[in-house]
Amino acid sequence: MLPSGNKRTKIRPPRRSLLDNAISGVVKDHGAEFEKSWRLLLIAIKLIQEKNVSELSYEQLYRMAYTLVLKNYGTKLYDNVCQQIKQHLLQRRLHLVLSDMMDDEANFLKEISIEWNEHLQAMKFISDVLMYMNRVHVKEQKVPYIYDLGIVLFLENVIEYNDHEIGHRLIDTIILEINNSWKGQIITTKTYITKTISMMNELEYGKRTVAAATVTADDVDNEGSNYYQRYFEPRFLSVSSTFFSQFALECLALESGSHYVQATSQFINEQESMLNFFLSTTTHPKLMQLMCNVLVKDRIDYIISLPYENHGLSYWLDNVIRNITATTRSDPHYEELRLLYDLVGRFDPERKLLKLRLRDRIIEDGQKIEQIALEMAQNSIKSSSFSSSASKKSPSISFNSSSFATNWVNSVLDFKNQYFKIISRSFGRDHTFEESIISSMRTFVNKNGFNAPEILSIYIDHCLKQLTKGGSKTPVDELLGNALTFINLIRDKDAFEAYYANHFAKRFLNSKGGASRMVDGMDIEDLFISKVVDMLGLSTVAKLLKMNKETKLSWELTKEWKKLVEADKDKSLIEMELKICNTVDWPKSMTKDYRIFVGDEAEGQAPFIWPKQLRHTMKQFEEYWSLGKKNSSKKLYWSPKFGNMELRISYPSRTYDISLSTYAGIIMLLFAPQSDESCILPFEEKRSYTYTEIKGLTQINDADLRRQLQSIAVAPRLRLLTKTPMSKEVNDLDIFQLNEKFKSPTTKVKVLTVSSSSSSSGSTGKVTATTADDDSLEVNARIIEGRKVILDAAVVRIMKSRMSLNHNDLIGELLKQLASRFQPLPLMIKQCLAGLIEKDYIMRDPKERNVYRYIA
């Protein structure tokens, strides 16, 4: 393209023709020159506004505008264009106002959106034609772009003109339509509502003042930066608020919580989707929030707390507590609960209010379970005759009877399962609710004055006994599951362990002939303990594990002893079932007085006198145990309190195999032939002893001796001995003899020992209850002892690592460490700290009384 041969290139000046041609012909007068071009442009703009774009040559128009801008007519052109648009819009407005369509909502909205669309279209073309002005003039003068100018003009001359004549009408129409749809009417104007709403969004105020500089995002986000936000939204929200309040009142008028949740849920759900379609993204959340506040948040607590008759929460949940006793179950109101859950979630995702109210209900209802279980236990006694097989049932039910325990535990578990079902069916399997329900249940399970750990232990004891007897229909797994679930509800795990140990010990010591613990091929005690270990940790149940181990050692020993007895040529040894318990690990209530049977000379306590028939065997066993089994470092004590004896006694009527307690057996042995050589039969001898003599010969303590004598001489039907005089009370001078007339329908006879209380009071009532009460008092004492030790240890442990700590932190740390076992009472902590200060483990800081220091 370069001209060849030219060394120096000449730059051609731009041609003037572009400017001259635009105003074809030579017009010297600048004013006339502008007028001429403007007239052409004006015609073009009008044509554009009449939608006749395709007849115009863009290039010509563009060139005209270009020329005018280049010749500094920019401002004039801009103003003229502005004027023309304004006039056009005022015309259109008049057309809108005057047209008949003003009376018809649908058409009105339609007309407005059409006008708007046409205006925007026209503005686009005008803006295209005046592109050069946009690029040059607008930037220099910092005035709005032509297109934006069009929007501002539309806002000023159509919508806002004459005090918002059209604007207000538009807002009212849209609100009316939306309200109609809320009332359930079908509206046909949806598309136009959407269009006009988006129009209002586009009518931005920022463009009126912000110059050619681009409108930044901030300006758009400003509150009320467009017509929609400034006028429509506030009005819409206030009208909506009134509407919602009214709606809420209508729903409340029926005084039914069920109706209210159903109606509002339906309404909110419908509107949520519908409004999403109409409203701008900024209003939608606001409106939904308003709706939730008015319909849900402000009123839901009232609804939840409505009394039973008015279908509040208590009504929806009522079936849960009813189901426990009902023969035919009816579901709680899952649907209403689900709606409630959703509604509450709308304003609080954690649903604290619902949890709180649910907690109140659970605690209130949960406490009823106690009464229900009590009634159930009583009913079962009334219906079943006294020959109940499972356990010794007493006519009046106390809280630690096994019947109450079973009913209560089962009812509480039932209660819990029903609530969990509600969670899965109505509360979207919300795990936070599971926690909340468990914690609420803990509150009523562990309430003061109600010994849940003991009851649970009784329950388990009862179940295990049933299982080993094969009398229970409940599968092992289910039972274990139940028990383990329940342990979770118990706050004081250490108390449970103590009670459980107590029951375990009793089961073991009272078992006879190595009674099987096997159910379905599993040792259920083993199984249960291993599950508890999994749950509570090894350290918590260390004692239980040791106890369990010792029971097994005892069995083996029993077997070995049996072999030894069989191998004995003299037949001088007696077969024994051995139960050897380490006094450290077994419950104190069982082992505390193991020493008194060897006597204590200092206290004038004579040693227990074992019958001479047994002494040889006992001596042989002691030797075998300490030498043969290498237990020389341990000391063996015999405890006649426990266990049973099997005696074969030949009464004149018949020979009986009698099973009776060790004490009773020892008493009976007094009447037995004293040596093998003696040929005198006991019944011919008519040996007789007074109470005092028996006591002297055995050294059984008074309470036990009276009790045993009552069992074998006073209780009807099973009088192995006769007593003179024949009375219920056992007095010191009463004389006892073998009962020659003893008769029993079977050759095997089992003597049950009457309880200590009945021997003193003489009444037959409350047999098991009172002994159990004594037991639980002892266990309680043991629990408290144990806790003191644990607490002391915990304090020392904490202080040793921290060296100094203020009171509140120490308490906090203690509660944290001990949470898995029990909750120490403030008083207990106080005593413990005082004790440790006294013992110089810790001291108070001399300057700050609140701070403790560890003394190394």
């Binding site: 370069l2 001209p3 051609r12 572009l18 115009l56 863009y58 060139r63 050069y132």
Partner: protein, 99 residues
């Protein structure tokens, strides 16, 4: 003289030169793009008031721009040669066409 096909747009100058340019190439200029809604869009012809050599250079530039617009980032774009003697006038035309 005219090629009213969808993809082709004639850009003609006043002294009877005629250039046929792809629509999407011509659309690089917003002015040329805007014509499409108007009468020019129907005829497929745009009458431009400029000399043939200037217009040729502009068309060349439009193709050059179209070819390399995606490669600007990579830096491997050859230089566009502007005939020195037309430089000033091209500047004015470029402003006019908003290129």
């Amino acid at each position: 003289m005219s090629h009213p096909s969808d993809d082709i747009k004639g850009v003609t100058d006043s002294d009877k030169f005629k250039f046929v340019v792809l629509k999407k190439v011509a659309s690089i200029s917003s002015v040329l793009r805007n014509t499409q809604e108007f009468a020019e869009g129907r005829s497929g012809r745009i009458q431009l008031d400029m000399d043939g050599d200037i217009l040729e250079c502009i068309v060349e530039y439009l193709y050059y721009n179209f070819k390399y617009k995606d490669k600007a980032a990579s830096g491997s774009v050859p230089e566009f040669k502007i005939p020195t003697h037309l430089a000033l006038e091209l500047l004015v035309k470029a402003d006019y066409l908003d290129i």
